[in-house]
């Protein structure tokens, strides 16, 4: 990934969006979780989604790589609609990395195995090449020494960094982070946020669902505030944190700033 110059941070991005979410709806039973969501993500943009629990943030994220099937609407990625019938989502998911709240490292492999499974199985690289890439990625997240460790012996912060390295081994164009630090102790949140910060600096397109307001403020190009299944407000961090227009946004942020 070439190092991007982030000077035009707040001036907005030009060109085609990498992901376009259009009129997306999703219900679980009678509960309507997403009500008509529209969202564009430009290449190299970092978008954070904030909002209270149950507002539909994670569901929106999981709809982008089809871990949840939307009831209606479109998710355009590279010109193909992921929500259409019979689309080979497997091919498109190769380009969309995802990091989970609960890490979800494969328990039956060591760290290196976790990182090389997908590239080798999907024949993206030979075993030796995949291992070389994996070692480079692990180096980037500071865990090269743990390549042969059993994943169950790692700390939470180390696990999450391995999960990020594992996703990066597929050379994704988009990274989705689903509350990556919510399951971590406060004192090790920093090591994961640091890795994510570096990734943003390198120009990775990222959509991050988070409760870390400092991270949203400092790293993201755009903040999306979700409330009750709709996007209540979106704008630059300066706008959202400095001068929120909606009463609901103010209420939500006030609660976080109290803490």
């Amino acid at each position: 990934m070439p190092l991007a110059n982030k000077t035009e941070k707040s001036e907005g991005h030009v060109g085609e969006p990498l992901v376009r979410v259009e009129a997306l709806r999703k219900s679980f039973g009678s509960l309507e979780v997403l009500k008509n969501i529209n969202l564009d993500v430009m290449p190299k943009e970092v978008v954070t989604i904030i909002g209270a629990s149950g507002s539909g943030k994670s569901t929106l994220l999981r709809c982008i790589n089809l871990l949840e099937t939307p009831d209606a609407g479109h998710v355009w990625f590279h010109g193909s609609d992921l929500a259409a019938e019979h689309v080979n989502v497997n091919r498109l998911r190769e380009k969309i990395g995802m990091v989970f709240q609960s890490f979800n490292l494969f328990n039956n492999m060591n760290v290196l195995g976790n990182c090389t499974l997908a590239p080798v199985t999907l024949k993206k690289a030979s075993k030796a090449e995949a291992e070389e890439t994996a070692m480079r990625r692990l180096e980037e997240v500071g865990l090269a020494d743990f390549a042969h460790a059993d994943v169950n012996t790692l700390s939470g912060g180390q696990k999450q960094r391995v999960a990020i390295a594992r996703a990066l081994c597929m050379n994704p164009e988009l990274m989705l982070f689903d509350e990556p630090t919510s399951a971590l102790d406060p004192e090790i949140v920093g090591e994961v946020l640091g890795v994510m910060h570096d990734l943003a600096q390198q120009g990775m397109t990222m959509v991050v669902v988070t409760h870390e307001m400092e991270f949203a403020k400092s790293v993201s190009d755009r903040v999306v505030f979700m409330d009750n299944g709709v996007i209540a407000e979106e704008g630059t961090p300066k706008q959202i944190f400095g001068n929120p227009k909606q009463a609901r946004t103010r209420e939500f942020l006030a609660r976080y700033l109290d803490d």
């Binding site: 689309v87 080979n88 989502v89 190769e94 989970f100 494969f106 039956n108 997908a118 042969h148 169950n152």
Partner: protein, 410 residues
């Protein structure tokens, strides 16, 4: 006992426990135990002494080695009685000095305490000698007489031994057939169950075309139906249906009865029955194991672009099967026992042979007790082997963990 002494022994015990892993440590621990102070020694050895006295009052057989040296046994008998009297005296002093027994009673202090300890070992040795003389040599005597007998003896044990000896070939064939049925049946069933459990838990996936979707629906419903039908009918009925259905089918193809007996033997029919029956139960065990794998594992694999099948094979199966190992090994033990119903179609396994022997001598109870003991030994051996196997399966994981744990420490 003084408190210093108590502390010392406690410390010794801890030290001994630490060394327990090595052979030398184990020996040293045994030495500590033998030389150590045992508070309740009188109570437990009194029970052992009573057993010894009871054994001594039993009739001697012709193989008893104590019969020629009668005076030795008399001495042993009265030693045991003396021990009981000593214990009773200790008990009385304990009742009299309930609170300060440890300080005041002569039984709790040297030299009497040392004598008690040595005496307790003598009591155990005497009882062991009496046990060998009466029980072991008695059994040997019965065995020798039963084997030499011309016709079946009256006594139950003698009759059982006589029948086992006379019909040893039948029992050996029966046991071997039972083991073959259980082992091969379980192995075949494992692979069939893996297939059916997979069919059952695969869900319709976005990239699937209509044909794949159709087969997934059919497969899942077939697996469900299979499990319901097989688990809902007795294995004995299944054996009769499978054997006769195969027979009728081959007959319909125009084969003669002798040709069919060569092709569709009762053993083959029995093996098919065990496999088909066990598949249904193993499928449920495997499904439970696969479903207990965290769904996040599947999601993570899918998010990297793996197909449902690739994620199953690489991530879910290796973890799920490990969870299912105890249930799967239990199925082998069940098959050893349940293959006994196959005697209904004439499979020459252990139960079939036991019934033949019972038919020869008209001694049903003894024969079936022998059969029960054989099954018990088989299942115990199988359980022991499977425990070792499952420990072996986990072993690389454990050693990996300790390796990487040390790596973390560095």
């Amino acid at each position: 006992m003084s408190s210093e002494n108590e502390e010392a022994t406690a410390a010794d015990a801890v030290a001994a426990a630490k060394q327990a892993s090595s052979r030398g440590g184990r020996l040293r621990r045994l030495g500590k135990f033998v030389g150590g102070d045992h508070r309740y020694v009188l109570l437990s050895t009194s029970v052992i002494a009573l057993i010894g006295i009871w054994l001594s009052m039993q009739k001697r057989t012709d193989m008893s080695f104590l019969a020629p040296v009668y005076f030795v046994e008399v001495a042993m008998y009265y030693s045991l009685v003396a021990w009981l009297i000593l214990s009773a005296a200790a008990l009385v002093t304990k009742l009299m000095h309930w609170r300060d027994y440890a300080e005041r009673s002569p039984f709790a202090r040297n030299p009497l305490r040392t004598i008690e300890r040595i005496g307790s070992y003598i009591v155990v040795i005497i009882t062991c000698v009496l046990f060998v003389d009466r029980v072991v040599m008695g059994f040997a005597s019965v065995t020798v007489h039963a084997i030499e007998a011309d016709s079946i003896p009256q006594g139950g044990l003698a009759a059982a031994i006589y029948m086992v000896y006379e019909c040893r070939d039948l029992f050996v064939t029966g046991i071997l057939t039972t083991v073959e049925l259980a082992v091969f049946g379980t192995i075949i069933a494992f692979f069939l169950a893996l297939l059916l459990a997979t069919l059952r838990i695969l869900t319709i996936d976005k990239p699937d075309n209509d044909l794949v979707r159709f087969f997934k629906v059919v497969g899942a419903n077939f697996a469900k139906l299979y499990s319901t039908v097989i688990r809902g009918t007795p294995m004995m009925v299944q054996a009769l249906i499978i054997y006769n259905a195969g027979f009728a089918f081959l007959r319909g193809m125009g084969l003669s009865v002798t040709e069919i007996n060569g092709l569709w033997s009762t053993f083959i029919a029995g093996l098919v029955t065990v496999s088909i029956n066990s598949t249904a139960y193993m499928m449920e065990v495997l499904r439970g194991g696969l479903e207990s794998v965290d769904p996040g594992q599947m999601e993570a694999a899918r998010s990297l672009g793996l197909s449902q099948w690739q994620a199953m094979v690489k991530v879910v199966f290796p973890q799920g099967i490990k969870y299912a190992v105890p249930g799967l090994s239990n199925e082998l033990v069940i098959n050893i026992k349940d293959s006994s119903v196959l005697s209904i179609i004439g499979v020459v396994e252990l139960m079939f042979e036991a019934r033949s022997v019972a038919g020869i001598y008209y001694r049903n109870l003894e024969v079936y007790l022998v059969a029960a003991v054989c099954y018990l030994i088989l299942t115990m051996v199988a359980t022991w082997l499977l425990n070792r196997l499952s420990r072996r399966l986990d072993a690389p994981r454990f050693s990996n963990t300790s390796e990487s744990a040390s790596a973390v420490g560095e």
